[in-house]
């Protein structure tokens, strides 16, 4: 599981061999987890959709390029029917994969980055810094995520401005990303910190300290590699949470109608009265996608957690 320093004979080669062996071992063990494999397969599928939606369904249909009539049920021309403006639901759902996944990804990156840095620093430094950082973490842990998200959204929009764009992501979506990141890093930090605390006590860390490695060096070269497993598993689960939160925030109207995520589609469906009109084709595709993707992330996350951290595996 951990990268333990080996004898200094052909260090580089040995390290590579070790890594290779670890990777193979990991792959074998992961492959034996059917839930993890199915989850990963689902995620690969959605990742493909997100990377190149236009290959599957063509360019994103806008209100002016809509090809159908309002709320048409599924037909040969529109496999999943149309929305109230006449856009193809299949097209929107596939493109929604990109928006939802990108938001999820970026929010997860923020969460993990904040969580890992604060967790490692807090756990490693200990003392006063740990006290302060953990109070801060406790505080963020306590904040009602959802209310905070709703309240933060307009504030962040105010700060970044409406025409701000990052990697082609509009300000409104940035808001959602930042909000999710800010409200969910605390639990990651807690988990990473406790792992750091136990890693810190190990021999090799002491050894590194004795040799005179700087604190930053020790954290980077010794602590981080030993908590990285935990970070990976946590990342995947955080991703599931981020998509969940994104869907919910968009559903209550904090999304961006110009960049349809699944949550935004569900919001539009609700707004247009699709549920009561029996327009199931408007609701079922995005809803199923959301549930399947969250499920897949959860499966992969659990599998990774078990494979990477055998001790936490429950058996």
């Amino acid at each position: 599981m951990s990268v333990v320093p080996v004898a200094p004979v052909d260090v580089r080669g040995a390290r590579w061999r070790l890594r290779l062996r670890n990777a193979r071992q990991f792959a074998r063990r992961y492959a034996s987890r059917r839930d993890g494999v199915v989850g990963a397969a689902i995620l690969v599928f959605f990742a493909l959709l997100a990377l190149a939606p236009q290959l599957f369904v063509g360019a994103l249909q806008t209100v002016t390029t809509a090809t159908g009539g309002p709320l048409e049920p599924p037909s040969g021309a529109h496999l999943l029917g149309t929305d109230e403006i006449g856009r193809d639901i299949l097209n929107l759902t596939v493109h929604g994969a990109r928006v939802s996944m990108v938001i999820g990804l970026m929010a997860t990156l923020i969460t993990i980055l904040l969580g890992a840095v604060i967790g490692i620093v807090s756990g490693f430094l200990g003392g006063r810094s740990d006290q302060v950082l953990m109070r801060l973490t406790d505080f963020f842990l306590v904040l009602p995520t959802f209310v905070l998200a709703i309240v933060l959204a307009p504030i962040i929009l105010d700060i970044v401005g409406t025409d701000a764009e990052l990697f082609g992501i509009r300000a409104t979506l940035l808001v959602i990303i930042v909000v999710i990141g800010l409200t969910s890093w605390a639990s990651t930090a807690r988990i990473i910190r406790s792992q750091t605390l136990s890693v810190k006590e190990r021999m090799f860390v002491d050894r590194a300290r004795v040799i005179g490695g700087s604190r930053a060096h020790i954290m980077r070269r010794h602590i981080l590699p030993n908590v990285v497993n935990l970070i990976v598993a946590n990342t995947v689960l955080t991703f599931a949470g981020a998509i969940f939160t994104e869907t919910t925030l968009s559903f209550i109207g904090l999304g961006d109608p110009f960049a349809p995520s699944w949550g935004q589609l569900l919001n539009a469906a609700q707004q247009s009265g699709a549920p009561g009109l029996g327009a199931w084709w408007y609701i079922v595709p995005p809803a199923v996608c959301v549930v399947v993707v969250i499920l897949a992330f959860t499966l992969v996350g659990n599998a990774l957690d078990d494979v990477l951290n055998p001790k936490s595996a429950t058996r």
Binding site: L141, T145, V151
Partner: protein
């Protein structure tokens, strides 16, 4: 239980609550959109009138210290100010009106979800790998992946709009009068059924997954083997040995969870138009009703702190190692 542990936990809780009060003040002052009662689009209102309105609401004074001091002072006295949207009703009243329905809905949903979720988790964990586990755990994972509104919308379509078994929304028939408590309860229960089912279903997954892993851990413990050696039946071992022991970590987590759940059920309340804190939050946000939003924020924050506090105490009580 030692006093120092208690004191430390209390100090932390109080500190966090103070931080919440502070953030509460800053965050809501940072929100764009002036909470003036005077509509900016009103053709007839002059600048002077808008300024006068701001002055009346204390918004013309500097943020720090005037507004902050006034805010902290009154918050500590339990005075949360007046709602902007609803004709200056006290925030405590506005929130108080919505507190009951939310607690009723969430409380019952938690109760059902805890009972069913723990039972399901215990059963699937005990039968780990069996068919019951596969179905039960699969179901839990699916439910766990579903946002409340994804559960709620189909329920409305099928059971309210379609079959007409339940009303579509609300808590009571609007403006209804009741001949007696029986009629009242019937009305309440019929309105309660669907949102209750929605939130319960949404919560069951999490509890079941939690309990399942807890019970599988317990299954490997020595005393279970001992019990088996004594010749107890499988069901008996589960009920009297494994379940109570596996429950402990679950109880702690449930305590913490209770603090969050009020804020989490917002979409369920919206879908069913339930007159609780969730719908109030969204309403208040739409109308930039700062005082009400602050009140909700404070309430939810404090309830999480208290839930954590209780969980810590319970945990410390049960597991002496934590206390030092």
């Amino acid at each position: 239980m030692n006093a120092r542990y208690l004191a430390r936990q209390s100090a932390q809780a109080i500190f966090t609550i103070l931080m919440i009060v502070l953030l509460n003040f800053l965050l809501f002052r940072m929100m764009p959109g002036s909470p003036d009662r005077v509509n900016p689009r009103n053709p007839n209102v002059t600048v002077e009138q808008r300024d006068a309105a701001r002055a009346r609401w204390g918004l013309d004074k500097p943020l720090i210290p005037d507004q902050l001091v006034a805010f902290v002072g009154s918050t500590l006295q339990g005075d949360l100010g007046y709602s902007i949207k609803f004709q200056g009703q006290p925030v405590t009243e506005v929130i108080g009106d919505r507190f009951g329905p939310t607690i009723l809905l969430i409380g019952l949903a938690e109760l059902i979800a805890i009972i069913l979720g723990l039972a399901l988790g215990a059963y699937t964990g005990w039968r780990r790998g069996g068919r019951a586990d596969r179905i039960g755990n699969g179901l839990s994972l699916i439910l766990y992946s579903m946002p409340y509104f994804v559960i709620g919308m189909p329920l409305i379509i099928i059971f309210a709009a379609g079959l007409g078994w339940f009303p579509t929304s609300g808590m009571l028939t609007a403006g209804a009068s009741y001949a007696g408590p029986v009629e009242f309860l019937t009305d309440l229960v019929s309105h309660l059924a669907l949102p209750l089912a929605t939130i319960s279903l949404g919560l069951i997954g999490g509890y079941s997954i939690l309990m399942r892993s807890s019970i599988t851990e317990t299954r490997a413990e020595d005393y279970i083997a001992t019990a088996r050696a004594k010749g107890l039946t499988d069901g008996r071992i589960l009920r009297s040995h494994a379940f109570p022991n596996a429950l402990l970590p679950a109880v702690t987590l449930i305590a913490i969870n209770l603090g969050y759940v009020v804020g989490g059920a917002i979409t369920a309340e919206i879908v069913f138009n339930w007159p609780g804190l969730g719908t109030l939050t969204v309403d208040a946000l739409d109308s930039r009703d700062y005082p009400v939003l602050q009140g909700i924020f404070l309430l939810l924050g404090v309830s999480v702190v208290l839930a954590n506090f209780v969980a810590d105490i319970v945990y410390g009580y049960l597991d002496p190692r934590v206390r030092q």
